[in-house]
């Protein structure tokens, strides 16, 4: 077991989106991507070579006022999407399996991560990005397991964005053929909209919540590839109907893989671990075919 402690924390000011007024100035953090692959680009909010963007100009003559209308199809989240794709390429080139873990606050994400790290660290390299509005508490909990973690504080932000992950990875330097677990801000709405460059989204849904959660938050459950139904050790004390919760999740997303688990007793974790091992092997074998010098 490796004991590497990195005490990095990104302050809110460093990760908060810059105001448009400064959008054309180079970033404060001219970070070199780990591995020397990519220079952190000054922020450009729009790519003129963007394949899905067409525009043409119409000049409308309005009496007493000259206006000029630009017609376009600019993707509002285009900048985030481009950074996410760059992250995805960077991760794929190193055979790293990156997962975006999302849930409402208190569903047990950090406890589940701690348990996963304790059980798997001996057999694979795992690094963690912790997203929270404030405090470094979760990163401290993760580091206590011996894993390397970077805390990203979003300040008023309610979700992680691709540029935050890019900067976190610069500090974290995840190893080739490793697992990168990204714990998003506890929120079932906003994180679903922002691609970070992950291989898959994992939603954690605890049995202490209502069975209708997937129906209430369909974007989140629709975007996820895996659902961990957590805290199942509490089932004897609750009137929670597991079959109804699973049925609701499949109503929104018929292809969702569902693993009922307990981080406390360990029940059901083997299925989750098998899924992680299979995913990591697939990422690493693709990487082996294009081994980097």
């Amino acid at each position: 077991m490796r004991h590497l402690h990195h005490h990095h924390q990104l302050a809110p000011a460093q990760v908060r989106a810059r105001s448009p007024a400064h959008a054309d100035q180079p970033s404060q953090m001219q970070a070199q991507m780990p591995g020397g692959g990519m220079q952190y680009q000054p922020v450009h909010t729009h790519d003129h070579a963007h394949p899905h963007e067409h525009h043409h100009h119409d000049t409308l003559q309005v009496p007493g006022r000259d206006t000029h209308t630009l017609q376009l199809e600019a993707q509002i989240l285009g900048r985030n999407q481009r950074i996410a794709e760059r992250n995805r390429g960077w991760l794929a080139g190193r055979g790293i399996l990156a997962l975006n873990l999302m849930s409402s606050p208190g569903a047990g994400k950090t406890t589940l991560l701690e348990r996963t790290l304790k059980d798997l660290q001996a057999t694979m390299s795992i690094a963690v990005v912790e997203g929270d509005q404030e405090t470094a508490n979760d990163a401290k909990r993760i580091r206590a397991t011996g894993a390397r973690a970077v805390q990203v504080n979003t300040g008023t932000g309610c979700h992680l964005e691709a540029d935050m992950l890019e900067r976190a990875m610069t500090l974290l330097k995840p190893e080739p053929r490793s697992l990168l677990l990204i714990e998003n801000v506890g929120n079932l709405v906003c994180p679903a909209l922002f691609d970070l460059g992950e291989r898959a989204k994992v939603v954690i849904f605890s049995v202490t919540e209502g069975e209708d959660k997937p129906l209430k938050y369909p974007h989140m459950f629709g975007a996820a590839e895996v659902m961990l139904l957590s805290k199942i050790d509490l089932m004897p004390h609750l009137r929670f109907r597991l079959d109804l919760a699973i049925n609701n999740a499949h109503t929104v997303n018929p292809k969702l893989k569902i693993f009922p688990v307990s981080a406390y007793t360990g029940e059901g974790l083997d299925a989750w671990y098998d899924w992680l091992r299979t995913g990591l092997s697939a990422c690493a074998s693709v990487n082996a075919m294009h081994a980097m010098p």
């Binding site: 206006t67 000029h68 900048r79 964005e161 369909p218």
Partner: protein, 117 residues
């Protein structure tokens, strides 16, 4: 509220296209399945546009209704919320064909007064 971050993106893209000219009108296309609330965008827009070339611009939002096609029976259905299974045949998986758009469609600028905000 993710709409604040999204509105910041809108203002940034608009400002870049405006290239120093004062923006008088912005037209967006927001799909009804996009998880973005037009009202929340309106709420944030003036705040985010303050001090930029888009300050005072009129905001227009076209909403696109959700549509999907079933991969089993081929049925085209209207969607008001995200559901995975086809309501027509009950077995197929729905593929969304419209309603997830998040686009800036038009930017109107005043060519008289070039400003350097």
């Amino acid at each position: 509220m993710h709409e604040l971050s999204i509105t910041r993106n809108i203002v940034a893209i608009v400002s870049e296209h405006a290239a120093g000219q004062r923006v008088t009108r912005v037209r967006l296309q927001i799909g009804q399945l996009s998880a973005i609330m037009p009202e929340a965008i309106r709420f944030c827009f003036d705040l985010c546009a303050a001090g930029t070339l888009a300050e005072g611009a009129k905001l227009e939002i076209d909403e696109t209704p959700g549509r999907a096609r079933c991969d089993a029976c081929g049925e085209e259905v209207a969607l008001t919320a995200l559901v995975g299974r086809c309501p027509a045949c009950g077995t197929g998986i729905l593929r969304i064909t419209a309603g997830e758009e998040m686009l800036i469609r038009e930017i109107e600028m005043n060519t008289e007064e070039a400003s350097c905000a």
